[in-house]
C-alpha cells in the first residue's frame, strides 16, 4: 500500500509540475509521429545513439499539454531489451511558428506503470515545421531526440 501511495503522489506531482503555460494558440494541434535519433549520454561519459526511433506526439484536446511516447529505446547499449517510454503532461506553448515543449519534472510510464527510476527532468524542445527536437534527463542520464515527421 505504501508503494501504491508513493506512485500516486509521484503521478500527481508530475501533473502539477509540467502544466504551467497554456497559450490558446496551441489549441487544435494535431498528433503526429516523428522518426529520428535518440542520443543518450551515459553517466560513464559514453554517447549512445538509438537510430530510427519513433516518437509519437499526442496533444490534449485543449492543446495545453501533450504526451510523448518514445518507442523501443535503450538507455545503454548493454540493455538486452528496448522499452516504450511515455512522457505525459508536457506543456505546450508557441514561439513564432514553433511549438515549445517544456516539462520540469514528471514520472514517465513504462512497463505498465510509473517508472520513477527514470524520472524525466528539464525537458525542453520544439516542433518546428516537420521537425521535432527535445532534450531531457532520464534520471541522471541526459538524453535528446531529433527527428522528422513520419510520412
Amino acid at each position: 500500500m505504501q508503494f501504491k501511495h508513493m506512485l500516486l503522489a509521484l503521478a500527481a506531482l508530475a501533473a502539477i509540475g509540467c502544466n504551467k503555460n497554456t497559450p490558446e494558440e496551441t489549441a487544435g494541434l494535431k498528433e503526429g509521429s516523428y522518426v529520428g535519433t535518440v542520443t543518450v549520454n551515459s553517466t560513464s561519459g559514453d554517447v549512445f545513439d538509438n537510430e530510427n526511433i519513433e516518437v509519437s506526439f499526442t496533444p490534449s484536446e485543449d492543446g495545453k499539454t501533450a504526451t510523448l511516447v518514445m518507442y523501443q529505446i535503450k538507455f545503454t547499449p548493454r540493455m538486452p531489451m528496448t522499452l516504450d517510454v511515455t512522457i505525459p503532461e508536457v506543456s505546450l506553448s508557441t514561439e513564432g511558428q514553433d511549438i515549445k515543449l517544456e516539462c520540469a519534472e514528471v514520472v514517465p510510464l513504462a512497463m505498465g506503470g510509473p517508472f520513477p527510476n527514470y524520472t524525466v527532468t528539464d525537458l525542453t524542445g520544439k516542433i518546428s515545421g516537420d521537425e521535432l527536437t527535445f532534450s531531457l534527463n532520464f534520471g541522471a542520464t541526459p538524453t535528446s531526440f531529433s527527428g522528422s515527421i513520419k510520412k
Binding site: 506512485l7 505498465g112 506503470g113
Partner: protein
C-alpha cells in the same frame, strides 16, 4: 518341460472351422485385396496369418503382429490411439501411418482407430513394400489387409473367455478377454470385451497407469442379390476407455517407474460402415466400395510425465470421413487382366487440443525465460494465474482423388505387371487459438492485468503424385517362382498440430512483452503456423525375391532397396520446448532382407520369419547437427519369429494342442545421433490347449514367459528423456465353447 521342447514355431494351416480363402477375386464373395491374380502368382512379398494361427499366438491386436510378419514392428505402448508402425525401415511415431490398413476392403483412414480388438478374423495379410499403385496414400511400407469371417465360411458359433494376471507387475490385477461370434443366414455377428487392471505402476499416484476397458462389435452381412450381383456390408463399432502413457523418466541411463501427477487416459468411440458391391458379367467385373467412418475420442495427457505441475494436454477429435472406390476389371483375354480404378475420400476433423500450463510450467517455461533477459534493477514479470489455458481449435479437411490402372499379362511362364496411379491430395487447416492470462510487472504495475492472445488463421496445401509400378514374376516350376518389382509409394503430408503449444507459448510471451512495451533483443525461437505443414514422404522400392511351395513346405525370401525422399520424422525443438513436430528429413535409404518358411509335417507345425533392415539417413540435418549415415531411430535392425506347434491326439475326441514361439526385435537406435540404443531382445510365448469333443477347449497361455525386461519406445519432453517398457510376464487361462457340432 514339454513347452521347452518346442522352441521352433508354427503357422498352422487352418483346418477348421474355416476354410482359408485369402486369394483375391473369390468366386463367391468380395475380398480385402485388390490384386488381379492370387497372391501366390503376384510379384509381391506377402505374409498371411490365418484364423487358427491368430488364435494360437494370441494375436488379437495389431501389436502382436510385430515380427510375426517380417520387418513389421508395432510397439505396444502409450494408448490405443498410438499405433506407431515401422515397416521396412519406414515409419514414424505420429501423424500418418506408413502402412495402409484395410478391413474387408475398407481403407481405414484414421490411425487412431488402427488399434482395435480383432475377433472372427479369417486372415491377416501383410503386403510388404510400397503398394501405392493400387492402394494409394500411406501404403508406402505396405498394406495390412484384414479379412473377417463371411457368412459363407459357415463358421460355428463360439464363445470364449480368457482371464489372467501379470504376476510380476508391481500391482498385479485382472486381465480378461471375452469374445463371441455367431453366424445366422447372411449375417455374422462378433463381439469382444477386453479388460485390464493395468501392467504399469504410477509410483506417484500409487495405482496402475494403464487400466483398460474396451468393447468392439462387428456385424457383417453378405448376400448374392442375383447371379451377377453380390452385396456386402460390414459395420464395426469400437468403444473403449483406458489409462495409459506409462512413460518412465531416464535417470543415470536407466528407466524409472512412471511417476506423474496429472490425468492421463483415452476414450474412443468409433463407427465404421462399409458397403461393397460386386457386379460380374461376361465382359467385366465391377467392384464398388463406399465407407463412412466416424470417430469421437478424447485424450488427456500429463505431458511433462513427472510429478510436477508443468503442463497437461487434452486432444479431442470429432471426425467423419467418406470413402468411395470403383475398380473395373475387363475380361479381355486369358492372358491380359486390366484393372482400372477411381478412388476418392473426404475427411473432416474438428480437433480441440488445449494445453494447460500449470504453476510450475508458467514459472519454468515462461517467467524464467522472460525474466532472465530483464535487468533486475528494472523489475520482473509475474503471472498471477495458477493455470494458464492455451486453447487450440482446429478444423482440418483432407481430400483425395485418384485414378489408377494396372495391367497383368500372362506370357508363358512370365507374369508381367505394369501400373500407374495419379493421386491428388489436398488439405486445409483452420486454426483458432487463444491464450489467456493475468500478468503484472513489478514494480511498475500495482495490479494484475488481463491479457488475451488470439491466434487465428488457415493454411492449406495440395500435391499431385504419380505412383508407378512394374513387376515380373517367373514361374520356374509349379513350386518355384522368382519375382522382381519396382514400385513407388507415398505417405501423405499434413499439419503439425502438436507444435501449436510451443507456438502459442512464444506468441503469448511476445504479446505480453509488447503489451508492456518491452522488446527483448533475442527473438523468440519458434515456428509459426505457416511452418507447421510437412510434405509427403515418397519412396521408391526395388525388390527381388523367390517363393517355394511344395506339399507341406513353404519358403520365401526377398531383398529390397528403398530410397526415401522427404522422410517424415518426429523432432523435438531445442530447449525446454513443449511440443513436437513432424519434419521432412532430406533423404534416407533402407536396405533389407526378409525370409519366411513354414513346414507342417503330420501333427507338427513349424514356421520362422526373419528380417534384416539397415535404414540410414543419406542426408539429414535438423538445423543443429548432421546425421548423414546414422541409423534411422526406432527401426529394429532385426525381427525374428520362430514358432512350433504339435497337436497331440490323446483320444479320438481329445487333442492337446501345444504351441510356443520366440519373438525378437532390435537393436534399435533411439535418437538421430545414435547415442542411445536398445539391444535385441527375445520374448518367449507359449500356449497349451486341450480340445474335448471338438466342442470345448481349455487353454493356458503365457506371454513373455522369461519376463524379459525391455524398452519399446523412447521420447523427449522438455529436454527430459523417457522410455516405455515392454509388457511383463502375462499368464492367461481360457475356455472356449462351440455352440454347435461340426
Amino acid at each position: 518341460m514339454i513347452l521347452n521342447a518346442f522352441i521352433l514355431s508354427a503357422i498352422v494351416l487352418a483346418s477348421e472351422p474355416v476354410k482359408p480363402a485369402i486369394d483375391t477375386l473369390q468366386e463367391s464373395h468380395v475380398t480385402a485385396l485388390k490384386e488381379a491374380l492370387p497372391l501366390s502368382r503376384t510379384a509381391v512379398s506377402a505374409t498371411t496369418l490365418r484364423q487358427e494361427v491368430l488364435n494360437q499366438t494370441g494375436t488379437y491386436r495389431p501389436q502382436a503382429l510385430s515380427a510375426q510378419m517380417p520387418g513389421l514392428y508395432i510397439p505396444d505402448y502409450g494408448a490405443s490411439l498410438t499405433s506407431t508402425i515401422y515397416l521396412r525401415g519406414l515409419g514414424s511415431r505420429m501423424e500418418n501411418p506408413v502402412m495402409g490398413l484395410y478391413i474387408d476392403g475398407i481403407p481405414i483412414l484414421d490411425k487412431n482407430t488402427y488399434d482395435m480388438d480383432w475377433e472372427a478374423l479369417r486372415s491377416a495379410t501383410l503386403l510388404r513394400g510400397p503398394q501405392g499403385t493400387l492402394y494409394g496414400r500411406n501404403a508406402m511400407g505396405g498394406v495390412l489387409a484384414l479379412s473377417s469371417l463371411s457368412p459363407f465360411d459357415y463358421a460355428r458359433p463360439v464363445v470364449s473367455l480368457e482371464a489372467g494376471v501379470a504376476p510380476t507387475a508391481t500391482k498385479p490385477g485382472l486381465i480378461l478377454r471375452a469374445s463371441a461370434h455367431y453366424t445366422t443366414g447372411a449375417n455374422v455377428f462378433s463381439l469382444t470385451y477386453r479388460h485390464s487392471d493395468g501392467f504399469f505402476y504410477n509410483a506417484y499416484k500409487e495405482t496402475n497407469c494403464d487400466p483398460y476397458d474396451g468393447l468392439s462389435a462387428r456385424w457383417k452381412w453378405e448376400k448374392p442379390a442375383s447371379e451377377n450381383l453380390f452385396l456386402s456390408n460390414v459395420l464395426m463399432l469400437g468403444l473403449n476407455q483406458e489409462g495409459g502413457f506409462a512413460y518412465g523418466q531416464v535417470a543415470d541411463g536407466k528407466r524409472q517407474d512412471p511417476a506423474y501427477n496429472d490425468e492421463a487416459g483415452y476414450k474412443r468411440l468409433s463407427l465404421i460402415d462399409g458397403f461393397r458391391v460386386r457386379y460380374r458379367s461376361d465382359k467385366y467385373t465391377l467392384d464398388a466400395t463406399t465407407s463412412l467412418q466416424l470417430l469421437s475420442d478424447d485424450m488427456h495427457m500429463d505431458q511433462d510425465y513427472m510429478p510436477v505441475s508443468i503442463f497437461t494436454l487434452e486432444q479431442r477429435q470429432r471426425s467423419a470421413a467418406f470413402t468411395a472406390e470403383a475398380i473395373l476389371r475387363n475380361i479381355v483375354s486369358d492372358n491380359w487382366h486390366p484393372s482400372t480404378g477411381l478412388f476418392a475420400f473426404y475427411k473432416f476433423n474438428n480437433l480441440f487440443a488445449p494445453v494447460t500450463f500449470k504453476r510450475d510450467g508458467i514459472q519454468a517455461l515462461m517467467l524464467d525465460n522472460a525474466n532472465k533477459n530483464i535487468p533486475k534493477d528494472i523489475g520482473y514479470l509475474e503471472i498471477g494465474d495458477n493455470t494458464m489455458p492455451v486453447n487450440s481449435d482446429f478444423l482440418i479437411g483432407t481430400w483425395n482423388v485418384a485414378l489408377f490402372h494396372e495391367s497383368v499379362f500372362e506370357l508363358d511362364k512370365w507374369i508381367l505387371t505394369a501400373g500407374l496411379r495419379l493421386d491428388y491430395e489436398g488439405a486445409r487447416m483452420d486454426y483458432d487459438c487463444m491464450a489467456r492470462l493475468h500478468y503484472r510487472f513489478v514494480p511498475t504495475m500495482t495490479a494484475d492485468k488481463p491479457l488475451d492472445v488470439p491466434y487465428k488463421g488457415a493454411v492449406n496445401h495440395g500435391k499431385v503424385v504419380l505412383l508407378p509400378k512394374v513387376s515380373a514374376l517367373y514361374e520356374a516350376s509349379d513350386h518355384f517362382k522368382f519375382f522382381g518389382t519396382v514400385s513407388k509409394g507415398y505417405r501423405a503430408g499434413g499439419f503439425n498440430t502438436q507444435i501449436f503449444s510451443d507456438i502459442l507459448q512464444n506468441i503469448t510471451m511476445t504479446a505480453l512483452m509488447k503489451d508492456l512495451g518491452v522488446y527483448l533483443d533475442r527473438p523468440a525461437v519458434s515456428v509459426g503456423a505457416g511452418n507447421t505443414e510437412y510434405a509427403p514422404e515418397e519412396a521408391w522400392n526395388f525388390e527381388t525375391g523367390f517363393r517355394y511351395h511344395k506339399g507341406d513346405f513353404k519358403a520365401s525370401a526377398a531383398l529390397y532397396a528403398l530410397t526415401v525422399k522427404n522422410q517424415q520424422l518426429t523432432a523435438f525443438p531445442p530447449g525446454k520446448s513443449t511440443g513436437r513436430m513432424m519434419v521432412n528429413a532430406a533423404r534416407s535409404r533402407s536396405l533389407g532382407a526378409e525370409a519366411e518358411l513354414s513346414w507342417t509335417p503330420g501333427n507338427w507345425n513349424f514356421s520362422a520369419t526373419y528380417s534384416f533392415t539397415d535404414a540410414r539417413f543419406v542426408s539429414y540435418n535438423d538445423g543443429n547437427e548432421t546425421y548423414d549415415g546414422n541409423r534411422i531411430p526406432y527401426v529394429p535392425a532385426h525381427t525374428l519369429h520362430i514358432n512350433a506347434g504339435y497337436d497331440w491326439k490323446l483320444t479320438s475326441s481329445t487333442t492337446l494342442k501345444l504351441n510356443t514361439s520366440l519373438q525378437g526385435t532390435g537393436p534399435f537406435a533411439w535418437n538421430e545421433a545414435n547415442t542411445l540404443e536398445e539391444p535385441f531382445t527375445l520374448r518367449w510365448n507359449a500356449r497349451a490347449a486341450l480340445e474335448v469333443s471338438r466342442k470345448w477347449e481349455i487353454s493356458l497361455r503365457g506371454e513373455n514367459l522369461m519376463n524379459t525386461s525391455s524398452n519399446v519406445f523412447y521420447f523427449k519432453s522438455m529436454g527430459n528423456e523417457f522410455l516405455a517398457a515392454g509388457k511383463p510376464l502375462t499368464l492367461m487361462a481360457g475356455i472356449t465353447y462351440y455352440l454347435t457340432n461340426i
